[in-house]
């Protein structure tokens, strides 16, 4: 196993002066090739900011990002386009990531142009196969698809480039629980069959537990714990991870409710 991607002491600061917010503070991690790594954390913990920095969609304040031995911290122009051939993304909202006037076929043919028409046609069929859809979907408009189908089309679009690293930022959060499992299974298959490296970002520890090989836990911009799933989720060391786990409602056991007034809310 070797790391395909490393982040060394990365930080991100928004704003200036008094209104300055440090969204990510000195975070380091490595993504092992062929593994699914999950970042979990509450809203505002900085997990999505990390995803955007890894994708090169946002300049980073300090630190270094290395992909396959090359420094990709400040890519521009053609080099960045090349980088995006290897690193693709699936985002949270499958309802706003489509142009509603385009059929799925028109949408995917844009990716096809990037790889050449002949190769593109093959990849198109292949990608749709991976996400369990057939070619009839190409004539459909987005409003004719369910949320789960849309998200699978978005994964297929990312797969057209045969990326080595797939970043999924809350890709399943807007879907029903019943559809969610299907998408997670697609991601697991991609790892098992293509050896794809996946960075999956979620606030749901249940999903992290089901999917991940490694888990990173974020709290207020700091990475408080990282390690193999079994260790972090079933034997957490950090206080914050323990609290997060205790607050997750369980399906088969009643949640322990403390006295309301003992809870101190940061204002």
């Amino acid at each position: 196993m070797s790391a395909i991607y490393t982040a060394e002491h990365i930080s991100k600061t928004f704003g200036h002066g008094k209104s300055q917010v440090q969204a990510v503070k000195d975070v380091s991690f490595a993504l092992e090739e062929g593994q699914i790594t999950t970042i979990v954390g509450e809203s505002g913990s900085g997990k999505s900011t990390i995803a955007r920095m890894v994708l090169g969609l946002m300049p980073i304040t300090s630190g270094k990002l290395v992909y396959q031995g090359n420094d990709v911290t400040n890519l521009k122009g053609r080099a960045r386009t090349e980088y995006w051939r290897d690193v693709q993304a699936v985002f949270q909202d499958p309802f706003s990531s489509f142009n509603q006037f385009f059929t799925v076929g028109a949408l995917l043919s844009r990716s096809m142009r990037l790889v050449g028409r002949k190769v593109g046609q093959e990849r198109l069929e292949e990608s749709l196969g991976y996400v369990g859809m057939d070619l009839s979907v190409l004539d459909r408009y987005p409003h004719q698809l369910s949320g789960g189908q849309r998200q699978r089309v978005m994964i297929a679009r990312a797969l057209m480039m045969r990326p080595k690293l797939l970043v999924a930022d809350e890709a399943t959060s807007m879907l029903d629980a019943s559809l969610r499992v299907n998408i997670l299974n697609v991601l697991t298959d991609l790892r098992n069959e293509l050896g794809m490296t996946i960075l999956f970002i979620t606030h749901d520890i249940g999903q992290a537990c089901y999917l991940a090989d490694r888990v990173l836990v974020m709290e207020h911009g700091l990475m408080v714990e990282q390690g193999p799933t079994d260790k972090v989720i079933f034997n957490p060391e950090h206080e914050y991870t323990r609290r997060l786990l205790a607050d997750v409602p369980k399906l088969h056991a009643a949640l322990e409710l403390d006295d309301l007034h003992e809870i101190v809310e940061p204002s």
């Binding site: 629980a177 019943s178 299974n185 606030h203 249940g206 992290a208 997750v248 369980k250 009643a254």
Partner: protein, 290 residues
């Protein structure tokens, strides 16, 4: 404990261009005094529609074709052109719609909303009276009184949601219909909100809750009984524990089996999603547990 709400034979239809969509098809529900009824199901199953009909806020394109609502022995016809007395909304049944915390006016302080809500039901109420009542309620439920003077953006998501929940129950309604109140919150805020709802029931501020959500683990925590909806009908209903541990209807079974929890077994097994189930199985007769 007596029956608080008895809704019978509700049929709700969306009249849209081209076709009519039956969202709620002849559904009856009963809620006991002090009960939290969880309404679960996938998107499009009709759970929000049923909630808003019971909360008396059905508006075109949604039309209630038939149904009656009985609260505390008073019967209200819902179907057709039946007029619902204004005093029922908010004071007898109150609705906390989905995303309520994001619909608070960003340019007004919270106390403005409080006064607005109180005045629309009692035109003679003075500002001080309204605020005193809200302040008392807020402090009883463990929130700082300063939220009244805050602007929405100064409150965290969890606090905002608790504040709008309190405001929606200022008039001591008998029943609160809460639509996905916890879905946009992180787990810690979810837990605090649930505790507050249970405390409101305990203190008899409200007497019953319909809790609409697709999040089954949350329902297991908060609900006395769970009703599962599928395609406009309740397919199974029973005590929460029973529904979670030994569901009988194929659809409920499929729904329960697709929940992922951070428990050791889930990192080892592969769960098949609902698409691998035969949808025709879901037409099985409804199961109502006693």
């Amino acid at each position: 404990m007596g029956t608080l709400v008895d809704a019978r034979n509700i049929r709700g239809v969306y009249y849209t261009a081209g076709k009519d969509v039956v969202a709620v098809n002849d559904v009856s529900v009963k809620i006991e005094e002090g009960e939290v009824l969880g309404l679960a199901g996938e998107s499009g199953s009709g759970k929000t529609t049923l909630g808003s009909i019971i909360a008396l806020i059905a508006r075109p394109p949604l039309h209630v074709e038939k149904g009656t609502l009985e609260i505390d022995g008073k019967v209200q016809e819902l179907g057709g052109d039946a007029k619902v007395p204004r005093t029922w909304r908010g004071a007898v049944v109150s609705m906390l719609p989905q995303g309520a915390m994001n619909s608070v006016s960003p340019t007004k302080r919270i106390r403005h909303l409080v006064y607005d809500v109180m005045r629309s039901h009692d035109s003679k109420v003075s500002k001080d009276e309204a605020l005193d009542r809200a302040r008392e309620r807020i402090t009883t439920l463990g929130l700082p009184a300063r939220v009244l003077d805050a602007y929405p953006h100064q409150l965290s998501g969890g606090m905002k949601q608790r504040t709008v929940t309190i405001i929606s129950t200022l008039l001591n309604p008998r029943l609160l219909v809460a639509d996905e109140p916890t879905s946009a919150l992180d787990v810690t805020s979810q837990k605090i909100l649930i505790e507050m709802l249970l405390e409101m029931l305990d203190k008899k501020i409200i007497s019953g809750v319909i809790f609409v959500t697709h999040d089954l683990p949350v329902l297991r925590t908060v609900a006395t009984n769970i009703a599962v909806m599928y395609q406009g009908k309740i397919v199974e209903r029973g005590p929460s524990e029973l529904m979670v541990d030994s569901p009988q209807h194929p659809y409920t079974q499929a729904l329960m089996s697709s929940v992922l929890a951070p428990e050791p077994k889930y990192s080892k097994i592969r769960i098949e999603g609902m698409s691998s189930f035969d949808r025709s199985l879901f037409d099985a007769p409804a199961v109502i547990h006693r």
